[in-house]
């Protein structure tokens, strides 16, 4: 029964919500890991995401400009990831490590400062104007359109969204493998539980911290590139705009619970997009200008009602 409600709802509200949710989910994973293993809210996470997207753009530009061939964003993202991870590691070494044993406030302040430093650096290097990431209008995937049309369940999903879905699932599987089947992954979970116990168990906490930044960096990269692929452009407020919803997703899922972060991300992405749907009457339920308020409202409610989140992470 693919009536007009279903078609419109799924294709113009639900699927975009899912896409946004995937982006939030990936970003939130990085935040929840940093929050639980390094014990602070990393305000610079959004800007790092953005840097990843800009670096990917540069790689693509170099390839097509200097080397003469076009390269898919996901391929260009690979060398960019190395740079982003490097950025995270350097930032940690010089700006966060000094505050490991100090008040949380200091390191949060430092990350707030990093947020501005990174954003300003991007603005200096790439300029404040919008850049096109992928030109043109994304057309729905032909195979999917034909197949879904034939079973009367028309789905119009452009390739970029399909990449994002598949990419997110692949990422999650890799993450799950890392955390449950590898030594360093289990150590990350151990440090997240209790850094003191990890220390006296002989676990190399520095190594775990480095691994956290690497994984976080990879997640941030993925989120940044997917976002750029989705909105097809780059602009210097991208990072900050994503920051709050990602924090909200991490808190919703439970700090330290990567699966929670994913669920949180999906919920918030869907909530944002679905809030614009005309549930009652003709106009959108919530004026689209207030979309970002949705994430924030959910977060505040969680902090008051159930601060440990859905999956019972730490509430500190």
């Amino acid at each position: 029964m693919w009536n007009s409600f279903g078609f419109e709802f799924i294709n113009f509200y639900f699927i975009p919500g899912l896409v946004l949710g995937c982006i939030y989910a990936l970003g939130a994973i990085g935040i929840t890991l940093t929050f639980s293993i390094l014990r602070f809210a990393n305000f610079a996470h959004g800007e790092t995401m953005m840097t990843g997207a800009y670096l990917t753009w540069t790689v693509m530009a170099i390839c097509s400009g200097v080397l003469g061939f076009a390269v898919h964003p996901l391929v260009a993202a690979v060398p960019a990831t190395l740079l982003v991870v490097l950025l995270f590691l350097v930032t940690d070494r010089y700006f966060y490590k000094p505050f490991r044993q100090a008040d949380t406030i200091k390191v949060v302040m430092a990350s707030f400062g990093m947020m501005l430093i990174i954003r300003s650096a991007v603005q200096v290097i790439w300029g404040p104007n919008q850049l096109t990431f992928v030109p043109g209008i994304a057309k729905p995937n032909a195979y999917l359109k034909d197949w879904s049309g034939s079973i009367d369940f028309l789905l119009l999903i452009p390739n970029k969204h399909l990449f994002i879905f598949v990419g997110t699932i692949a990422f999650m599987m890799a993450l799950s493998y890392l955390l449950n089947k590898t030594r360093i992954g289990k150590a990350m979970r151990a440090v997240s539980d209790s850094p003191d116990l990890a220390h006296v168990t002989g676990i190399n906490v520095d190594q775990v911290i480095r691994a956290t930044w690497i994984v976080g960096g990879a997640c941030a990269m993925a989120a940044g590139v997917f976002l750029a692929m989705d909105i097809q452009m780059l602009e210097t407020t991208m990072g900050f705009r994503m920051l709050l919803p990602m924090f909200a997703a991490a808190i919703l899922g439970g700090i330290g619970k990567p699966y929670g972060a994913v669920l949180g991300g999906l919920v918030i992405g869907l909530a944002e997009e679905l809030s614009a749907y005309p549930w009652i009457g003709d106009g959108p339920l919530l004026s689209p200008g207030y979309k970002t308020g949705v994430a924030f409202a959910i977060m505040v409610v969680m902090l008051i009602v159930r601060p440990q989140g859905l999956f019972k992470g730490r509430s500190f």
């Binding site: 809210a41 200091k106 400062g113 709050l244 200008g289 970002t292 924030f296 902090l303």
Partner: protein, 354 residues
């Protein structure tokens, strides 16, 4: 040339003074009560918009034309900011520092969103302009045509009078007003600090479980500090609106420029110290302002040397370079001089011993 420097110094004092008021407000929240408020820009916006809406002339684009006296506008700005803070405080005050930071930054963004979306009231993204500036407003027709100025002369006479003045005549008055307000707030906060209220805040900050155990209502005191600090920030926001005369919801209230700068000012000057707040404000503002001159001058020099360089982009990018340097300055301060220039000044806690 001399005049130019004098006017420049006056503007440094004015804007520095406004930031000093922000910093004093933040010191109440952070220095006294240990509240990590990263949403300063939100309270500034509330204060600024309240003042603007109450005092601007009528307009088809936004609410206005109430004709309230300017000081009244500033007072209501404080009250509105205080009320908003009170509501926020009731919900969020118990949150741990990181969470409070996230919550306050979120609230500030929501506040800006509201101002951006309620276009009927606020003219949305285009903002409100022609905000009357205290003292300068006298030279506007709608003010000298009505009381009290109308008691002292006819509109024509006033018109001629104001035309005869140099166009910067109001600056010393405005600067003095800002500095006076700053001083009054400073004195009031100093008195509060040594008063029983201030001592109680110290006790709570140093040993919260003990304070609770001896029956002190920690939550209420914290909310008080939050509200008072916010009211001060609201006032600063109203003054800020007067300084700029045009406000709009996104660029004017950029957390990078307002929230961050005020934090750097407080940390550099010495948090927990009212004088430190003011010192930090003037110092950082002077550095910020002077760096603009230096960088612009350097760019002009570079452009002279290298012909054909794209001037425009270099200048805008230079602005971001400044922000980057201030960010690095903060990191250096956090690591090398975390206590700031002036030391934290705390009255002895009521029990005498920690």
């Amino acid at each position: 040339m001399d005049f130019g420097i004098l006017l420049y110094v006056l503007s440094l004092l004015t804007v520095g003074g406004i930031y000093a008021i922000f910093a004093l407000g933040l010191n109440v929240q952070w220095g006294f009560a240990g509240l990590f408020n990263v949403g300063i820009v939100g309270f500034a916006a509330v204060g600024a918009y309240t003042y603007a809406l109450l005092t601007t002339a009528g307009s088809t684009y936004h609410l206005g034309g109430f004709g309230f006296p300017l000081p009244f506008g500033m007072l209501v700005a404080m009250i509105t900011a205080a009320i908003v803070a009170g509501l926020i405080g009731l919900i969020c005050i118990r949150l741990r520092s990181d969470y409070l930071a996230i919550a306050t930054i979120g609230i500030a963004e929501i506040i800006k969103l509201i101002f951006k979306n309620e276009t009927e009231i606020t003219n949305g993204p285009r903002g409100i302009n022609k905000i009357p500036r205290f003292w300068e407003h006298f030279s506007e027709e709608r003010f000298y045509s009505s009381w009290p100025l109308s008691w002292f002369g006819t509109p024509e006479a006033w018109d001629a009078f104001f035309n005869s003045l140099p166009n910067w005549w109001w600056q010393p008055f405005f600067a003095s007003t800002v500095l006076l307000i700053m001083y009054v707030i400073y004195r009031m906060l100093e008195r509060a600090r040594i008063a029983p209220w201030g001592r109680m805040m110290t006790a709570i900050r140093e040993n919260e479980p003990a304070a609770r155990a001896s029956g002190k209502n920690v939550t209420a005191r914290r909310i008080e500090a939050f509200v008072i600090g916010a009211a001060i920030m609201g006032l600063a926001g109203a003054l800020f609106a007067q300084h700029l005369r045009l406000i709009e919801p996104t660029n004017t209230f950029d957390p990078a420029k307002v929230t961050f700068l005020v934090w750097v000012m407080l940390i550099l000057g010495g948090s927990g110290n009212n004088r430190g707040a003011m010192l930090g404000a003037f110092l950082i503002w002077t550095i910020w302002s002077a760096s603009e001159l230096i960088i612009t001058g350097a760019i002009d020099l570079l452009i002279d040397i290298f012909d054909g360089v794209d001037m425009g982009s270099l200048r805008t990018r230079a602005g971001f370079l400044r922000m980057m340097l201030i960010g690095l300055l903060l990191q250096v301060i956090l690591q090398k001089f975390p206590r700031g220039i002036l030391p934290e000044v705390r009255p002895a806690s009521p029990k005498g011993i920690k």
